[in-house]
Symmetry: C2
């Protein structure tokens, strides 16, 4: 049993009214600066916790949602973190950020999260083992996977875009432009995004009597994409390399364009047409003008926030698996003038 | 007075030993999954707070550091947030993220921060009024301004790079390349970074008997930089526009290059040489090959983490104002081949 200082104790030590203490800790409430300083000084001496912590003890809510991220160099994620933070702030929640190392055990990270008593957990492009999913369920903390798809029927929600439809769109755009030799540069082989984008892409090629010309793997990294591009396009004989390539995300597609133009002296789109995925802000930059499959980040975030807050406020709300629509944004890298 | 459930209560309800409860909440400790699930289930039912919250009550430390950011579209900040998060995590602290609206009252935001009882506050490119600085001082929560400079003698620490030296370097590089008509595209007029970069730039020009040819303002925004570039370079007579421009950060310099090449048909560097500031990852991309003044983000973060943790652990550690070195990274946008 721990004795916690109350606002009465603080008011007494600060020599102000209890209402002044309350107003000091109410956002937007009016209180003289001198009063506020007295209150904060007394609070510090007594170790008084204002509303947020008191609220945690009473309501069991910390008003914090953990966001686990590991790919901030992919420009899609800063956008997501900014939009998601703003959206949750508008409902009085804040984001506690956990940066996972590429190969970090999620088990250890999750135990850290639990220690902070967060109200919910959003995993950006990370998956959860079934054992960990059970631990989360036992703790009553809702978990949501963003941009990854959960196993069907799992207790962990997921919000993603329709990656398979996006892969189909990419194939269709390149086929309609008359390309016969079409390559694919894959992301992480075991990710649901890569699996679904590639499946849609291959299915659409097959539906038109085609198949992928060559395939290399960039592992969703910048350096990996450079290596994959050199492998795919480093042949003198133009008929031995693709005339078009679908790259599993924009971050890699930009690295691929740099290798094509800067190292191999190939023109985009005249020698090689390029399509990416995500439609990050940089895809629209004049230096790339990259055609891309757009994920609707704003809609994905709205869905994430709504589902997460519903699960926090009512444990009976079931896990959901959402696939939001995508669209093709055509630019110069496939020959569309903008 | 609030009654808080203890690990003894949890062990009893879960039907396990107190040591099992403790091990469940100790990162890295061995505990069977079935036991862990029982403990978490009992914890949830009793509203038991494991270590982190208990530690807050006992030590008055929450192990959270608030990071206030508002410019995540400038590629410098995702890098900073990722590196700073990792650095603090290695010392057992986590980042509670607050995204400030461009014109949000910092007063209101700061009261929200205080409610979470964070151990420290890092402001990314934001300044603090002297009134708010006093409130923070009274609360005993150390505050540090990152990439902004505090008033001398202030109680609020600051970690920045030597912006003035960077401005001098930019001027020297352009003068040495023989440019006579050199423009400046400013960031936010009231920011210390813009003030110091411009002061160093102008001082170096003056030291060589020159002065800035034209100056426009981009307000550190992408659209603002586009407008500033059109104003500066939208003249048919080449002698009426600069042959080189120093842009106050890379984020704006990329927008400027897009306007120069995409809208005005000017070549970089043959018609206009461009230098930015920050050396963000995108400056090295082949589509831009942007010469830039590099801020040493890693050194700035190390200094930030060390000072912040020292102040958290010992209230007597005085505020410091650090200016870390910068260096010129030359690339194609000023005619250096790479």
């Amino acid at each position: 049993m721990v004795r916690v200082a109350t606002s009465v104790d603080v008011a007494k030590l600060a020599g102000v009214s209890q209402s002044a203490v309350s107003r000091t800790y109410t956002p937007g409430a009016s209180v003289a600066e001198a009063t506020r300083i007295k209150v904060m000084d007394a609070s510090r001496k007594l170790g008084y916790r204002p509303n947020a912590i008191a609220r945690t003890l009473i309501t069991r809510k910390s008003r914090m949602i953990a966001v686990v991220a590991s790919y901030l160099d992919n420009q899609f994620y800063p956008v997501v973190i900014e939009k998601l933070s703003k959206r949750l702030q508008s409902d009085g929640y804040h984001v506690l950020l956990f940066i996972a190392e590429a190969n970090q055990e999620s088990d250890e990270l999750l135990m850290q999260l639990m220690q902070y008593h967060v109200d919910g957990i959003v995993l950006l492009s990370a998956t959860l083992s079934s054992g960990l999913a059970k631990v989360c369920a036992a703790s009553g903390v809702p978990v949501l996977m963003f941009n990854r798809v959960a196993q069907a029927g799992g207790t962990v929600s997921s919000v993603a875009c329709d990656n398979e439809a996006g892969g189909r769109m990419a194939a269709r755009a390149l086929l309609e432009a008359g390309h016969m030799r079409i390559g694919y540069i894959a992301g992480l082989e075991d990710s649901s995004t890569n699996r679904d984008r590639e499946a849609g892409f291959n299915a659409e090629l097959a539906a038109h009597g085609h198949r992928v010309f060559t395939r290399t793997v960039g592992h969703y990294s910048f350096e990996g994409a450079q290596v994959a591009a050199r492998l795919m396009f480093g042949r003198a004989d133009a008929t031995q390399r693709p005339s078009a390539v679908f790259v599993a995300n924009d971050y890699m597609a930009i690295a691929v364009m740099d290798v094509l133009r800067g190292e191999l002296g190939l023109r985009v789109p005249q020698d090689v047409a390029v399509i990416g995925f995500d439609n990050v802000p940089q895809a629209a930059w004049g230096g790339y003008s990259l055609t891309s499959i757009e994920q609707d980040a704003q809609a994905m975030i709205e869905a994430t926030a709504k589902l997460m807050l519903a699960q926090i406020n009512d444990e009976a709300v079931a896990a959901q698996h959402m696939n939001l629509p995508v669209r093709l944004v055509e630019r110069g890298s496939t020959g569309k003038t903008v």
